[in-house]
């Protein structure tokens, strides 16, 4: 007879959630080690956090090996509330990579800001645990907890420069709008639970499909509120107001972290809800998604054109990128989902790279986030300027670089499903986006520097720059090799599509 404890924490269940367990343990470890370290020698915190990522990666590899060995579509644990399927594992790798790069960027940056506390790395690891729950949760309770764990950790990280007025303000705005959107999202979940009588997303999907006509108004309300909450989290227009403020005020490394890892996590949650809970409700959500996608493309691109603050400009550009990904959702076929996943992967590298360059601009008395601050970078640090050009062109979707492949699959899926108008609109906005990316390039290469202060990026930052640049160029030049190396991961979109086509 199994004891109560054994029933709820057997070895198999623990193996499945081991990446989260590892990260939690190491995050607590960082908090303890921080107490032992003398002030001004806090680098061991970052090292511990990085070690935690390695261990989490190792346990994730074990989960993946189990999955490949048994040839299954996913291993579930804890009575089916956690499922590690290829999509979840894909996202978990993405979070680990993004966090690793962010830690490399952060070490020297937080020392310059004189806020190099252990809590910074601990909160980052905690938020990754939340993201992993969002990617692997199959129960709305776990999905909600994961979302909140990520969000609450990020609120603190955004306001981490507590002596800086702008960081405070960004944290406040992010907190208020984030909590508001969580409330809306939870209300949608409560209605879905009420209509279906279960918290399992697969069962919710099945039971919502069998609802009688009379409960359709409530179903409508449930879908609309859930979607509004999700759109807030991925920062789609008209639910995007928090993003530019939070991105501008946050420590630059955290801006990069939020814009890639946080966004990917929100997308994981969104795909999970759409592919399972709402998979038969397409007639309700499709018009909303199309409208929001068009508004997001328009709003993000047009607002980015007039920005003079680099972080704010990249915030609006990241809103525009969400617009492209939403188009993959409009197509809603295998290519479209694959496009979203590839897009999130390449976006991680190119966007973190761009933010790493902005971090390197941090010098005495300068945050380095205005276009004027990047002027003349070519004459000071030609290598960094060249890498920034690569990142920006990749963000714009210029062919030999990684960013092209994200957009390629999205456009392909739109053509496949006959959305020609949307495809041409998206191509038009690529031209618009090139304008504001070229504005930064113009400032870097053509304009003289405004001050003579030298720019000396630290070792970790240079490493992060090279890793992201290599990935951006590498994925662009050899996409087949990457796809073959990630052949197993690429069953991810197939798993999702199989889930909703069946």
């Amino acid at each position: 007879m199994q004891t109560f404890a054994a029933q709820f924490a057997n070895a198999h269940d623990l193996m499945v959630v081991m990446p989260m367990v590892m990260l939690t343990l190491f995050a607590c470890g960082v908090l303890i080690i921080d107490l032992l370290l003398p002030a001004g020698d806090k680098r061991w915190n970052a090292a511990t956090a990085a070690l935690g990522l390695l261990f989490a990666g190792g346990s994730l590899w074990r989960v993946q090996a189990t999955l490949a060995h048994q040839g299954m579509l996913g291993v579930s644990a804890f009575n089916g509330s956690v499922v590690m399927d290829p999509m979840a594992i894909f996202f978990c790798w993405l979070f680990l990579i993004a966090t690793g790069i962010t830690i490399l960027i952060s070490v020297r940056y937080m020392e310059i800001e004189q806020e190099d506390h252990g809590e910074y790395y601990a909160l980052m690891l905690f938020s990754v645990v939340g993201m992993m729950c969002m990617a692997s949760g199959k129960d709305i309770v776990l999905l909600f907890i994961g979302l909140e764990l990520m969000a609450i950790s990020t609120y603190v990280l955004v306001g981490f420069l507590r002596r800086d007025k702008r960081s405070n303000e960004a944290a406040l705005k992010y907190l208020l709008l984030g909590a508001f959107s969580s409330g809306i999202f939870a209300y949608g979940l409560s209605l879905m639970y009420g209509l279906s009588g279960t918290t399992d997303v697969t069962l919710i999907g099945r039971r919502l499909a069998g609802l009688p006509e009379s409960s359709h108004p409530i179903l409508m309300l449930a879908v609309v509120t859930t979607l509004a909450g999700l759109f807030f989290k991925i920062a789609a227009v008209p639910f995007h107001q928090w993003a530019p403020d939070a991105y501008e005020g946050a420590p630059t490394a955290i801006t990069g972290f939020m814009s890639v890892a946080g966004k990917a996590a929100a997308w994981a949650l969104l795909l999970r809800i759409f592919a399972f809970a709402l998979r038969y409700e397409q007639t309700i959500w499709m018009p909303m998604v199309i409208a929001v996608a068009v508004m997001t493309l328009t709003g993000g691109n047009l607002a980015a054109m007039t920005q003079n603050n680099l972080k704010r400009l990249l915030a609006y550009s990241s809103i525009a990128h969400v617009g492209y990904m939403l188009l993959g959702l409009v197509a809603w076929n295998e290519t479209g989902i694959k496009g979203i996943l590839v897009y999130l992967l390449v976006y991680t590298f190119m966007n973190l790279g761009a933010f790493a360059v902005i971090v390197s601009l941090r010098r005495r008395d300068l945050i380095g986030d205005e276009i004027d601050d990047i002027a003349g970078l070519w004459f000071k640090r030609p290598v960094e300027a060249l890498l920034m050009v690569i990142f920006l062109l990749s963000l714009g979707g210029i062919p030999p670089l990684a960013g092209f492949y994200g957009k390629y699959f999205i456009f392909l899926s739109l053509i496949e499903t006959g959305h020609y108008v949307l495809a041409s609109l998206a191509v038009f906005y690529i031209a618009v986006s090139l304008y504001y990316y070229l504005r930064i390039i113009n400032a870097m290469l053509m304009r003289p520097a405004l001050d003579a202060e030298p720019i000396q990026p630290a070792f970790g930052l240079r490493l992060a720059l090279w890793v992201t640049a290599l990935a951006t160029v590498g994925i662009g030049l050899f996409p087949e090799i990457f796809i073959r190396a990630a052949a197993w991961t690429m069953t991810a979109p197939r798993a999702v599509t199989q889930a909703f086509l069946r």
Binding site: S182, T199, G249
Partner: protein
């Protein structure tokens, strides 16, 4: 049980509370009041979960309520800390005066 209140009443109450929360969030100008409006929204969610859990004779919904309460508590702790740090640098609690970051 002849005289129990029908579930629709609870749901309407929950919807009204939620609407009050949303309205308060939009029209109020004091940060603390806005924060209370958010708590009101979460409590509306709790009420609707409890009502549904009672209707379905299940514990899932009630378990969710506990998690929502935990989340609300954590959010209040972090939120009040952030509000205090904003107050320390600006000496105001009006959202209209917290406006360094603009278009």
């Amino acid at each position: 049980m002849m005289n129990t209140v029908p579930i629709s009443w609870y749901l309407v109450l929950s919807a009204v509370l939620f609407a009050c929360g949303v309205t308060g969030f939009i029209i109020k100008r004091n940060i603390i009041t806005i924060f209370m409006s958010i708590e009101l929204m979460l409590n509306a969610v709790n009420l609707s979960f409890v009502a549904f859990a009672y209707q379905w004779k299940q514990l899932n919904g009630e378990v969710f309520v506990f998690f929502v309460m935990v989340v609300a508590a954590a959010e209040a702790a972090v939120g009040l800390a952030i509000i205090i740090s904003v107050f320390r640098t600006r000496e105001t609690l009006s959202v209209d005066k917290v406006d360094l970051l603009k278009l």
